[in-house]
Symmetry: C2
Subunit: 314 residues, 2 copies
Amino acid sequence: MSEAPSVIGFYSPTEDEEIWKTRIERDLPTFQFELLEQVEEKRLVEYALVWSPPNGLLKTFENLKAIFVLGAGVDALLRDPDLPKVPIVRLEDAGMAQQMAHYVIYGVLRFQRRFEDYENFQMIKQWEPLVNIEPIEQFPVGVMGLGAIGSVVAEQVSKLGFPVLGWSASPKEIDGICTFYGDDGLASFLARARVVVDLLPLTTATEKLLNRDFLSRMSADAFLINIGRGGHLIEDDLLEALEKKVIAGAMLDVFEREPLSAESLLWSHPKVIVTPHVSGITMPQVALDQIISNIKLLESDGIPMALVDRKKGY
Amino acid sequence: MSEAPSVIGFYSPTEDEEIWKTRIERDLPTFQFELLEQVEEKRLVEYALVWSPPNGLLKTFENLKAIFVLGAGVDALLRDPDLPKVPIVRLEDAGMAQQMAHYVIYGVLRFQRRFEDYENFQMIKQWEPLVNIEPIEQFPVGVMGLGAIGSVVAEQVSKLGFPVLGWSASPKEIDGICTFYGDDGLASFLARARVVVDLLPLTTATEKLLNRDFLSRMSADAFLINIGRGGHLIEDDLLEALEKKVIAGAMLDVFEREPLSAESLLWSHPKVIVTPHVSGITMPQVALDQIISNIKLLESDGIPMALVDRKKGY
């Protein structure tokens, strides 16, 4: 019995497990890689690598030492009422911050340079230079959430010359970025940002934060980019705000329910860009680097990076 | 007669002359600002500020000391057979480099992240994450022309993490960018770039450079961005290359004839983005800063910045 190797178990509805198996078995040779749903000797599983596991799956592994989430958000996992009381480790970045920064930059430039108007002109073969493009100095980009991802997004947008504002729950300082915090700071932040980028974690404090009241505090010529969590935004409130010209437009990558239903009015709204949760995709090799070094840390009684605080919810 | 003030004359089919008049009269009070076509005492005109003046207009000013071009390109001006033999000064930047860098970044991200595909999916309400997005490491951006504008474009694209290649007629070194030069370097440059950005000046050497032969040396999954000059590109060769899948797509801001004729097949080609010469728009105040300080330099017998070399053509 002491001869059987410990198991690293894996569960993901989307990832190609072969990539994960190969790296784990090469870099952690004392472990065996198995799919969590196919493990026979459940007590051998010491680490679980998971994305969106069904509720109750994890509680069946009595000797679990830690759970690794294959993404940055852990809100879905924390809703499992039977979640084992072991450390939860999320991905710190895995190439996602840069991808998300690029997504934001694309959206900001599309709004500021009015590329959508040029697309419409092209469709009707109309040569129509827009001479009143606003200079970037008048186009501050506001980033909500200044963690591992938000701070990279803020920095990359700032490098392009745009003024960048930042908002977070507690005070933070980032070079070259004008930061605000808490409820008191939110009003000034929203009044000044031409683009509001949501990158907050989903917690009880941020759920439904992007509601009618929030949108009404944005300026009428401002745009919303949601790459945080679908649970932040009340989609009906956004549709109403767009109809009433409370804000100018939105680019959404996350939704209340995914996949977004074909019935949703967001798909066909002329002021909404819909993308299917692709602003930041896990890059397996970068994720594996992090997970492998965290397992090595745990095995030598160290403390892993990016440990989740269950109370805070991220 | 010695009492009459010297004149700074202005000609532009698009600019609002009031902005120019106000700054010139404030910062160069010994001069009078007049429209070149309305000047009565032509011999009083010492400096001409022009964009696309009709051939022959400038030769009528016998005491001209210098010509300032309100843009970066001087090819149209140099084709005036009666162009006075005085120094020609172009704008060095005037905010254009950053605007052009942003235009390129928008195009590169649109290609690499396949935002056009997502637009098409949105139209048919289809939730379709594309999981095989190529990492930026496999998406080198090649910039042709490494002058005042090209070097800023190369640098800003590089800051986003994309590998950047550069090509110029003569050898140039830029930190962090892999540079090529001359005819010999062109083949390797074109074979490696996933996006080829044309920012060359229009000279006899670069006219019609972007022809069938050039396009055939690009890779089949590569994109062309032309923000240089319309005279570089043979539009029929591009259409043929797109039909035959010799290259993957193009984003064009300049054309053989502008405005682009409604008859052009470029407007409706699914692989072509057409914008109406807006990648870099002169920002009057920045241009005025340069022109005013150059006139002060000339008045104190100094040498102005960004003097055009008529032989080179830029």
